[in-house]
């Protein structure tokens, strides 16, 4: 997918396949994922637990767990191939050019070091320089992500900060070297609702100011609606639909996307139970020959069980992986 203004993507993932080895068996967790992220763009990767979102993000950072391996495809970042790049080169890219924020701020900071020393180490490892200039940059970044009383927080240990504050520290770590791409993996899932809103607002504000690209991974459509320029819906390790955010919400085309939107809680005059998509995500070792969603799809036709549908343009900026799309009705 290309954007109208003709710029090339910062991140271009093509046919990425990532496997996880478990109990001696090898599963494809990400299967043939393709996704572009353009400069100054906020892309949301949406899907339910276990669909491979996090593994896809960790593949980009080359931070897969020991049991994980990228077995196919390509990840181009500013024209450089990340899949085959050396460990040393990928280390230089991390934090400097691509940053990542993780889900649980309570466990994501080293408990034995102060906030200031964690940030200063990160700065000095990448940029060198003396302790004083690193401290100045660390302090400025903490203040920028709206940590109150940032100066005294430099000397705080992570356990002395609240969850929201710790996530701000994580954001400061991610932004301090001014990266071109920020990957945020469920950055607000572990936080209170009020704190969630503040953190998201901060992230969007930083993305705008720095004009960086942002890939936000979430299962929460409310987050998607408030943050995304473009949305990619992931199911069972691949993208099933991709569209600008207003198009996706106004007119979801893939039956899975339709199911997700239908399952959003909404105020309804009728007292009806909350909609849920029947069935569950197939485990990664289960690969139906046809469409992965067919067993749960209300509109599956014969062809859906036989052939795997490709991801194809479906009018305008939309990509769709479906043989039998049906108009959306909210029930």
């Amino acid at each position: 997918m290309t954007q109208g203004n003709g710029t090339s993507p910062v991140l271009s993932i093509r046919n990425l396949t990532t496997t996880i080895q478990s109990d001696g068996l090898i599963f494809d967790v990400v299967r043939g994922l393709s996704l572009d992220v353009y400069p100054n763009e906020r892309v949301c990767l949406v899907g339910e637990s276990g669909c491979g979102k996090t593994i896809a993000a960790l593949s980009v950072m080359r931070l897969l767990p020991e049991a994980g391996e990228i077995t196919g495809g390509s990840i181009l970042f500013k024209g450089r191939e990340l899949v085959s790049t050396s460990e040393r080169d990928i280390r230089a890219i991390r934090a400097e050019e691509i940053s990542m924020i993780f889900q649980d701020p309570l466990t994501s900071l080293d408990p034995s070091f102060t906030v200031g020393s964690i940030l200063k180490e990160l700065i000095k490892v990448h940029r060198g320089g003396d302790d004083k200039s690193a401290a100045a940059l660390a302090l400025a970044t903490l203040a920028e992500v709206e940590i109150p009383d940032a100066k005294s927080r430099m000397d705080a240990y992570p356990h002395q900060l609240s969850g929201g504050m710790r996530q701000r520290v994580m954001i400061a770590m991610a932004l301090v070297l001014d990266p071109d791409l920020l990957i945020a993996d469920e950055p607000t899932t572990a936080l209170d609702v009020t704190v969630q809103a503040q953190i998201l607002e901060r992230l969007v504000e930083e993305q705008r100011q720095r004009q960086m690209a942002m890939l936000l991974i979430t299962h929460d459509l409310a987050v998607v609606a408030s943050v995304a320029d473009r949305v990619a819906v992931m199911y069972s390790g691949e993208i099933v639909e991709q569209a600008p955010v207003d198009q996706l919400f106004a007119d979801p085309r893939h039956p899975y996307t339709q199911g997700l939107i239908r399952a959003l809680p909404h105020v309804s005059p009728r007292k009806e139970p909350l909609y849920s998509i029947p069935g569950r995500v197939p485990p990664p070792q289960f690969t139906p020959p046809g469409c992965y969603f067919a067993p749960r799809c209300p509109y599956a036709i014969e062809r859906c069980w036989q052939e795997h549908p490709p991801l194809e343009p479906d009018g305008g900026d939309r990509l769709l992986r479906c043989y039998n799309p049906q108009p959306f009705a909210l029930l």
Partner: protein, 305 residues
């Protein structure tokens, strides 16, 4: 802070109770203090007078309070066998024991920690399996047997090192290694498990995502956190070394506190035996106290909670 105060109180209580226990144990274990101190020709009346003079005829609790009073004024008494000043003995033999103990203690960590880290980084590979086999063996071998083994191997067979004696570095090697052996084995095991636990934490992934090298991630961040349990158990290692010193010093003829204590007990030299028993207890208790202190210092979550 409160933790340190209460630990200090505990330490003092344990010292008092153990000194009472030692005092009673030595007097109730039979044997005759006069046998070693006086020549065989001494008459029963002379022996009784000797006991009277030492205050050994009074009830044991009275003796204890008299003894405690003298200790508190700095009078540690003299040996019954050679009339040596116990304070002087403490300095002379204590220095030897300190050299041996410090050498063993250093070996425990200088060898145990790197091996443990190496095993954790090479988990389930050949190096790890080799190190863990060594560790299990080290925990299983009794140190008196290991002492005989190394004497046979390095002293009798290859004549590389002396089998006994004091106080040059070459005399120190074998007893220090034997004394440290079990501690090394335990430290390897503990370091490995603490490292593995920390390497699985989310913040290790954060450190890698920040572009830090593996050496920094493992050697600085994971290790800094793994140090917390290692330090907290360092006190136990001190206790172990003090306990084993009795055996090892005796086998290698190293004139330290352990050897003095073993000889004093065998000769019913009450003042020496009870004093040095309590010294060894104090070493163990102080070791544990230091480890507690180290634990609080090493763990920021306890420091300003």
């Amino acid at each position: 802070m409160r933790r340190i105060v209460s630990r200090t109180g505990y330490m003092i209580l344990i010292l008092i109770l153990s000194s009472i226990a030692v005092f009673y144990a030595i007097r109730l274990s039979g044997g005759d203090a006069t046998a070693a101190a006086l020549p065989a020709s001494t008459t029963a009346a002379q022996r009784e007078a000797f006991r009277e003079r030492l205050g050994l005829t009074a009830p044991i609790y009275v003796q204890y309070f008299q003894y405690a009073g003298r200790i508190l004024t700095g009078d540690m008494g003299n040996s019954l066998t050679n009339n040596a000043d116990i304070g002087q003995m403490l300095i002379r033999h204590g220095k030897n024991s300190l050299i041996l103990g410090a050498a063993a203690f250093a070996l425990v960590f200088v060898i145990g920690i790197p091996l443990g880290i190496w095993a954790s980084v090479r988990r389930n590979r050949f190096a790890d399996q080799g190190i863990m086999t060594f560790s299990v063996t080290g925990m299983a071998i009794p140190n008196f047997w290991l002492a005989l083994l190394v004497i046979w191997l390095f002293a009798s067979t290859f004549h590389l090192l002396p089998s006994a004696g004091c106080c040059e570095p070459r005399h120190l090697i074998l007893p220090a290694v034997v004394l440290a052996f079990e501690g090394i084995a335990l430290t390897v095991r503990m370091t490995r498990s603490a490292m593995l636990e920390n390497l699985g934490q989310d913040w290790v992934r954060t450190a890698r995502a920040a572009g830090l090298s593996e050496i920094r991630v493992i050697g600085k961040h994971a290790f800094r956190n793994a140090l917390i349990p290692i330090i907290s158990l360092a006190g136990l290692r001190i206790g172990q070394i003090v306990g084993y010193a009795l055996v090892v010093e005796t086998i290698f003829g190293w004139p330290g506190l352990g050897q003095v204590l073993v000889n004093a007990v065998l000769r019913r030299d009450y003042p020496v035996a009870q004093f040095f028993s309590v010294v060894l207890v104090a070493l163990v208790v102080i070791g544990n106290w230091l480890a507690d202190l180290g634990y609080v210092i090493a763990n920021p979550r306890l420091r300003r909670a």
